[in-house]
């Protein structure tokens, strides 16, 4: 286990009161809603950022907003840190607990409360998984747009915490652009509602602030999101190139031409091989880089847009163009792409980066990434949302070799700094979590961070909510 990133030292006064705290929580929750023994707690010690692990004090699995409020009120009163968690799929360690914390896991609150097609909204409990929203609305011709790769498993509550994106955000925006309202519990147990089925905030846009706040401002228990009418048709098309430069330049030109496809996904050779091995989607294996470009609309519209894109790709020496012939084939193409991270686990351990860069810098950053990773003696696979410059280099390493793990982390840090230096940012859609916390100073000045932390403290003066994350540990206000 790597230890380059520090956690806050556990509060000894909380640890020493552990038995009493657990007993009190048992009064607030049904018996099956509290995990307290060491064996049961261990599986909650990490999320999908497995390099770091901390066994929590206890895990609460509330079934109602009232139970969430009761736990928070109690923890606030007795100064016990709380780490909110959905499905635990964070790639930045957003749901990793700390030893003195109660994990508030909303996985039991998984009911779809309302699908309102007249107003194009869905109201959900926070533990509903992302994909279930679209599945539930599909029969009536609607869908929920943000589609993180982990959409099968990740929860809407977690999506709000991380302002999650996905492949189709190029056209439809990320979570914050699709979130209309939340019911949330503040750190002291107060239940508030922000937004609703209407589009605009009544006062300050606190909803916009809460979205992407990584569980530091409160715990969302219900959400109202925007549903969109499903397009008539959608077609992913594969464009194979010899080199990453050609593919990168093609992306820049597509966007510059004024065409905004629904998605432009990029895979380099290692990523293509990994995904093809899992999904057998028919990705070409004789190319150096692959773009999956999805267009949607009527047949006429798709044809027109595709013609333009094919023409642009031709200028970049495209090697293969493959249109998919059936919905099954389209589903496979997306299955392969969306399973890319997990499928990488077949060949090695990995950490997944999430920097975003201006489109014009795409090729440069890809080249530098390769150089950086090579300089550490490691390998990299690239699979990412090219249309909005959101890169996901997967740095491959051996988790059972501590030195290898340290090198991977160092390489990751170098890559993220590069993203900031070319005018981008540390994280596009995975959140800062614990992973990028100490790099925040590279993107923001002390004053910038102080202002963010002051706003954070306005919600949680005692810094009890997910306190080891997002903001560097020193210099906190």
């Amino acid at each position: 286990m790597s230890e380059a990133i520090r956690f806050l030292a556990p509060r000894q006064d909380v640890l020493s009161r552990r038995a009493a705290i657990v007993a009190d929580l048992a009064d607030l929750l049904p018996i099956e809603c509290l995990v307290q023994d060491a064996r049961g707690l261990a599986p909650f010690e990490t999320d999908a950022f497995v390099s770091y692990r901390r066994v929590p004090l206890a895990v609460a699995l509330p079934e109602t907003t009232a139970q969430v409020a009761a736990v928070l009120k109690y923890c606030h009163r007795f100064n016990v840190p709380v780490v909110p968690r959905g499905a635990g799929t964070s790639l930045s360690g957003g749901a990793i607990p700390q030893e003195d914390a109660v994990v508030l896991c909303l996985s039991k609150m998984a009911r779809i409360l309302e699908l309102d097609y007249a107003n194009r909204t869905a109201t959900l409990q926070a533990g509903v998984t992302n994909l279930r929203i679209s599945e539930a609305a599909a029969i009536d011709g609607f869908f929920y747009a943000p589609d993180p790769s982990s959409q099968l498993a990740c929860t809407i509550g977690g999506n709000i915490g991380m302002n999650s994106g996905g492949a189709h955000c190029l056209k439809y925006g990320v979570t914050t652009n699709n979130l209309l309202g939340v019911k949330m519990v503040l750190v002291d147990g107060t239940v508030i509602e922000l937004g609703g089925k209407h589009l605009d905030a009544a006062g300050y846009d606190l909803l916009g602030l809460v979205c992407g706040s990584e569980g530091q401002l409160g715990v969302v228990t219900e959400a109202t999101v925007r549903l969109i009418a499903k397009p008539e048709g959608a077609r992913p098309v594969l464009f194979g190139f010899d080199t990453c430069e050609q593919a990168g330049a093609c992306v820049t030109d597509i966007i510059a031409s004024g065409i905004i496809p629904v998605a432009i996904e990029f895979m380099d050779k290692p990523a293509i091989e990994i995904c093809e091995a899992f999904a057998k989607a028919g990705y070409p294996l004789d190319v150096g880089a692959l773009l999956i470009v999805e267009v949607e609309g009527s047949e006429a519209e798709m044809d027109a847009v595709l013609d333009s894109i094919v023409e642009i790709a031709g200028r970049h020496a495209v090697k293969t163009v493959r249109q998919c012939q059936s919905p099954t084939e389209a589903a496979l193409i997306w299955k392969g792409r969306k399973s890319a991270f997990g499928a990488t686990g077949r060949i090695a351990d990995y950490i997944c980066m999430d920097g975003t860069v201006p489109l014009g810098k795409l090729s440069h950053v890809l080249n530098r990434t390769a150089e950086i990773v090579e300089s550490y003696g490691l390998r990299v696979a690239n699979v990412f949302h090219a249309g909005d410059g959101n890169m996901h280099p997967l740095i491959l390493f051996n988790a059972n070799d501590p030195e290898d793990a340290a090198r991977a982390e160092a390489a990751g840090n170098d890559i993220l700094k590069l993203c900031v230096d070319v005018g981008g940012c540390l994280t596009g859609e995975h959140g800062v979590g614990i992973e990028k916390r100490d790099l925040m100073r590279h993107q923001y000045s002390a004053i910038d961070l102080a202002q963010q932390m002051a706003v954070r403290a306005a919600f949680d003066e005692k810094w009890l909510l997910n306190p080891s994350k997002v903001f560097p540990l020193d210099g906190r206000t």
Binding site: R39, P43, S107, G345, N400
Partner: protein, 450 residues
Amino acid sequence: MQTSFTPEQLEDPQVAESEKILRRCVHCGFCTATCPTYVTLGNELDSPRGRIYLIKEMLENGRPADEETVTHIDRCLSCLACVTTCPSGVDYMHLVDHARVHIENTYRRPLSERLIRSLLANILPYPARFRVALQLARLGRPLAAVFAKVPALAPLAAMLRLAPAKQRGSSTFHPEPEPGSRTGPKTGRVAILTGCAQSVLDPGINAATRRLLARFGVDVVAPPSGEGCCGALVHHMGREEEALGFARRNIDAWIGEIDGAGLDAILVTTSGCGTTLKDYGHMLRLDPLYADKAARVSALAKDITEYLSTLDLPVLESRRLSVAYHSACSLQHGQKITTLPKLLLKAAGFTVRDPAEGHLCCGSAGTYNILQPEISAQLKARKVANIEATRADVIAAGNLGCITQIATGTKIPILHTVELLDWAYGGPKPAGLDSLRGKDKAGPVAAAKI
């Protein structure tokens, strides 16, 4: 995922295998979403990822199983939906098998659990004993309500409720040719697993299989003596030696036939058993005397729909009957057979409907509906609701466990896929379809076209 095993621990081939499996897991959590128990209970500990973690801790520390770990592993249905979902290729099946053996060897269950498990392990795999037990169960049925009120006796109540009021179908193997058999050169020579519980509960399934195969010129050999339970039942309870014993007996029974006149396939009509037969090669890989023979048997094991798909059955005129196809977990996840049964049904003229959440287990899962009646009942209700939403006339499934489970929850008739196929290709109309008059253009007309 990082693991920490000592070199000494890794000398044990079982541990070494589990370590390899664990290293593949990247803790992405995708598996949680399709796990029936996680979807029902919402607790990480009742998800594949949680169980993998519990198993990892248990094996790494080489410690005996504890109550918490056992509780959550017992709740696993072994439906293997997680294996289908897992992008990293984690072989959860063999990991949980290993954990179950470890539990069986190191954990002493409470008396009531031991009794019920021993009861199941000593009755179900043995058709003669099972027949007697069923007679008793029918008599004992009224007691179910009483047992259900005592938590330790809930499995008994579940067991009594599952016992069918009367036996479905009947027939044992007749050495003489099936009526309607095609004469002339044979297209294949196969064995059919007789097995255990199915031969008692619904021998009609294998009878339909034999009729159908005979009609297409396939020679079905008589069940060789010694053939019986595949071992899945005890295997899933972690009773490894007993399971291997069943496997060896079956291998011995078939190997003579294979080495003699030869077999093209060993057909299985209960997909739960099929998954196990196909795993004999793995189960006995460390047994120098059996490893090779086991691998040969596994290679020949085929689900009935896999084999039928190779026969090129004629496409029949479509009939007005709609069939909700329930994909048994052992078929779709265990053996990755998803579309073949539906294609066969469509070719036979049925309108096939896919229930929503088809990846979720119905809660039968071998003896699960007896050992975990509460979760099983919730899954059954969910499954039945999804099936009934298709408004199909009849349900088809490839596994007797599912058939028994779902039948207790719905009024829609449920049949084995092969029974519908047999009917469509000229066999008798299956019992239970009498209420569907007018929707079933008769089988014999269709048969005439063959």
